[in-house]
């Protein structure tokens, strides 16, 4: 690849001393209190707690009782630019990500127009280089217009900076087209990420087919609409020895299919969203349109299978599928409302409060999966190490807060966790050496 896949707006490098923070970087094997000094945007020194001096002009942060993680990386967000800037734009979307502790995000190409040409990709990257608060990578479509028929100019798109390829929001229904894309991948590289759904099985559905949909009289999407496609496409990836990533998995059979494919040595990976890990179709009972997403919320056994997949590493990353929609677009009867929930600002708190605090998953696994998206997208994994650019997030695990209590950094408020009381507040995010977010009540002490 000829260009840096990640783009952000210029900003001043940070000089910060984080004192007595509990550093947890599962991939670097760090899990202990330290002082961490960031100078000119780089991690300059890591010392025993209370031992480092703050050079003049360095901001000093009392990290006593707080945790410092590598910044999170979300391989799956919708920044709605171009074409739907009333829902989100590159500035608000990356601000929202920074508020969630993210130091990089990967944007989906199902915009209007679709990102399926290098000229459009180039102008998007140009825009991001002026507006993005944190580094953004852009994916391009697998097929022109997401129509599932003709491949995009994948090689040229890669040269123009495409992180990878996806028709997210839609499946690649034609197995022959997917196969050609995987063959072409040998030339151009770049992960191919798939939204798995068989429209012949899912058509017309607004929620998971099951006891709740039967009671509500709402047409349901059966889980096998996803899992049959995961199984099919894993087989194609194996046959072509190609690299596939399965987005937002939502059912037992999909996790099983991914696990089987990995056991056969296929180059496949998968993600799960905070909402599929924390909620089930029972949440749809009141027809709150923030609970309408694609794939829809599943059964409790699906949730358990996803948690198990995250635990054993079958699912390498937790990805939000951050999907903002304007208030009036979501203020509709359930069946009419668009699919999607925002997630960047609540992801860590949701997973921490629902899974880590109750003892379901250990904290180090959750942090690992929140940074795990980077490697899957071919991006460098953030780490707390001397000489690295500072990609860090400072979190108070004991701080309780209510999702949406002060509004959102995102332009949209369609968050499925809106109003939920969670623990775990991101206080500060450093992305590529720059302070990208500071929580409003979080005091600043200049040395």
């Amino acid at each position: 690849m000829s260009l840096d896949p990640l783009v952000r707006a210029p900003a001043q490098d940070a000089d910060v001393l984080l004192r007595r923070v509990h550093v947890l970087d599962p991939r670097a094997g760090i899990d202990a209190p330290h002082d961490v000094l960031v100078r000119a945007g780089q991690v300059a020194e890591i010392g025993a707690p209370g031992t480092l001096e703050a050079p003049a002009g360095t901001e000093e942060v009392d990290g006593e009782g707080k945790h410092l993680f590598p910044g999170f990386v979300d391989p799956h967000v919708h920044l709605r630019t171009p074409g739907q800037e009333h829902k989100e734009d590159l500035e608000t979307g990356t601000r929202s990500a920074a508020a969630g502790g993210y130091c990089a995000v990967v944007a989906m190409p199902n915009t209007s127009p679709v990102v399926d040409s290098s000229s459009l990709l180039g102008s998007l990257r140009d825009l991001a280089s002026r507006l993005a608060r944190i580094p953004v990578g852009f994916t391009a479509a697998i097929t022109l217009g997401l129509e599932g028929q003709h491949l995009t100019e994948m090689a040229e798109l890669r040269q123009a900076g495409a992180v990878g390829f996806t028709d997210d929001g839609r499946p690649v229904t034609d197995a022959g087209v997917l196969r050609k894309a995987l063959q072409y991948q040998r030339l151009c590289g770049g992960v191919i990420a798939l939204h798995e759904e068989d429209p012949a099985l899912s058509a017309g559905g607004s929620m998971r087919e099951g006891s709740v949909s039967a009671r509500l009289g709402i047409a349901g999407v059966p889980w096998l609409s996803e899992s049959t496609m995961v199984a099919r496409d894993a087989a194609i990836a194996g046959y072509e020895d190609g690299r596939l990533h399965f987005q937002h998995l939502s059912c037992v059979a999909s996790v099983d299919a991914l696990r089987d494919a990995k056991a056969r040595g296929f180059k496949v990976s998968g993600e799960a969203s905070p909402h599929h890990l924390c909620l089930t179709h029972e949440a749809v009972r009141d027809l709150d349109t923030s609970m309408k997403m694609n794939p829809p919320l599943g059964f409790e056994e699906d949730r358990q299978a996803l948690i198990e997949g995250v635990r054993d590493g079958t699912i390498e990353t937790i990805a939000t599928d951050h999907a903002p929609h304007a208030r009036d677009e979501k203020e509709m009867p359930f069946e009419q409302a668009p699919m999607g929930t925002t997630g960047l600002e609540s992801a860590f708190a949701a997973v921490y409060s629902e899974l880590v605090r109750p003892g379901v998953l250990p904290l180090d696994i959750v942090v690992d999966r929140l940074i795990g998206g980077a490697a899957l997208m071919g991006l460098p994994t953030p780490t707390v190490a001397v000489g690295e650019r500072a990609n860090l997030c400072l979190v108070d695990l004991e701080r309780a807060w209510t999702v949406g209590e002060h509004g959102y950094e995102s332009k949209s408020g369609n968050c499925c966790f809106h109003g939920r009381r969670f623990h775990g507040r991101v206080l500060m995010t450093l992305a590529d050496g720059v302070v990208a977010y500071r929580e409003r009540s979080f005091a600043v002490h200049a040395a």
């Binding site: 047409a219 009036d328 203020e331 009867p333």
Partner: protein
């Protein structure tokens, strides 16, 4: 009762009360002048996003017999076709301060949703494939009128359960009133999960003779185009209620409109066991009772004391004693 949104919100006492009230209105229908002043000065808005003849006219007739003013708003030919959202339409119409809005939409939960946007009492006249509570109430009324009680009654609902809001409301209402319910139809049109409502599920009519009441659902032509059944001919062969399948002691019901020769054979529609016309008659009475409950006897901002049409002294709890 502020709104009528779902049978799920009603307990047995509430259903009994509505049926009793409907019965008290029955006498009005037999008068030369079929009108009482109970809701004089109140405005009822019929907001229909789907075509409907019998439900809409039944609500209109019910409102008029209670002396309410009625405005009909059909979505076709209106601002809705110009792309106005449900919220904007409801808020625009609510600005005219109707006391009640009777709403039918193709979307589940829409009637509940609009309660946020208006102070009017909301009556669900069908929300998508979710519920059609007044249909279930008039069916309960019809059976109660005929049999006295539904306790221990065995009711079979036959046909396209999947797409039927009538079936969902009816299963709940019948069970609340003490009946046992079985739903039956082709497996493509009877979701297995429907058993969460508490009913039995059958795919054949072999055990139909055990039913006291056979309730046939309308089979829409469109379902055949979507290949839910191979042909209406085959559907009729397996599920049509005809004089061979309908026992001499069994009662027959149908929410209308009937497809003769599909779900019902013509002779049973017109036969002595058919309650179909009783259902239609009950429709007006039950809708009078519902409108009366939400407008004249409930709490909230739409009660006569606070509405713009107050002060006529017509809010007597026994309207049948006060003919116009």
């Amino acid at each position: 009762m502020k709104h009528l949104l779902s049978i799920e919100d009603l307990d047995r006492a509430a259903i009994e009360r509505l049926c009793d009230r409907a019965a008290s209105f029955a006498e009005v229908a037999d008068r030369p002048i079929k009108k009482v002043p109970a809701l004089r000065g109140r405005t009822v808005l019929n907001l229909f996003y789907e075509s409907s003849t019998r439900t809409r006219s039944s609500f209109e007739l019910a409102a008029k017999r209670l002396s309410a003013d009625v405005v009909n708003f059909a979505a076709s030919g209106s601002s809705v076709e110009k792309g106005e959202s449900l919220r904007d339409t409801v808020q625009t119409l609510a600005a005219h301060q109707p006391h009640a809005i009777v709403i039918r939409t193709p979307w589940a939960g829409a009637s509940k949703l609009i309660t946020q946007w208006t102070d009017a009492a909301i009556v669900n006249a069908g929300d998508g494939q979710h519920e059609h509570p007044t249909q279930a109430l008039l069916d309960v009324y019809t059976l109660r009128d005929r049999l006295g009680s539904l306790d221990g009654l065995n009711v079979w609902i036959v046909g396209d359960v999947r797409h039927s809001r009538v079936a969902r409301s009816l299963v709940l209402a019948l069970q609340t009133m003490g009946a046992t319910v079985t739903v039956a139809g082709p497996p493509t049109l009877v979701p297995q999960d429907i058993a969460v409502l508490g009913c039995q599920v059958r795919y054949s009519l072999d055990e139909l003779p055990q039913a006291d009441v056979v309730y046939a659902l309308r089979m829409q032509n469109e379902r055949m185009k979507q290949a839910y059944v191979p042909s209406l001919r085959e559907y009729a062969a397996n599920y049509q209620i005809d004089s061979r399948r309908l026992g001499a002691r069994q009662l027959l019901m149908h929410p209308g409109p009937v497809n003769r020769g599909v779900e019902l054979a013509g002779d049973v529609v017109d036969g002595p066991r058919s309650l179909i016309l009783d259902q239609v008659r009950a429709g007006v009475l039950v809708r009078m009772a519902v409108l009366y409950e939400v407008l004249a006897s409930g709490g909230g901002p739409s009660t006569p004391a606070s509405g713009p049409g107050r002060g006529r002294g017509t809010d007597h709890p026994n309207p049948e004693l006060h003919p116009a």
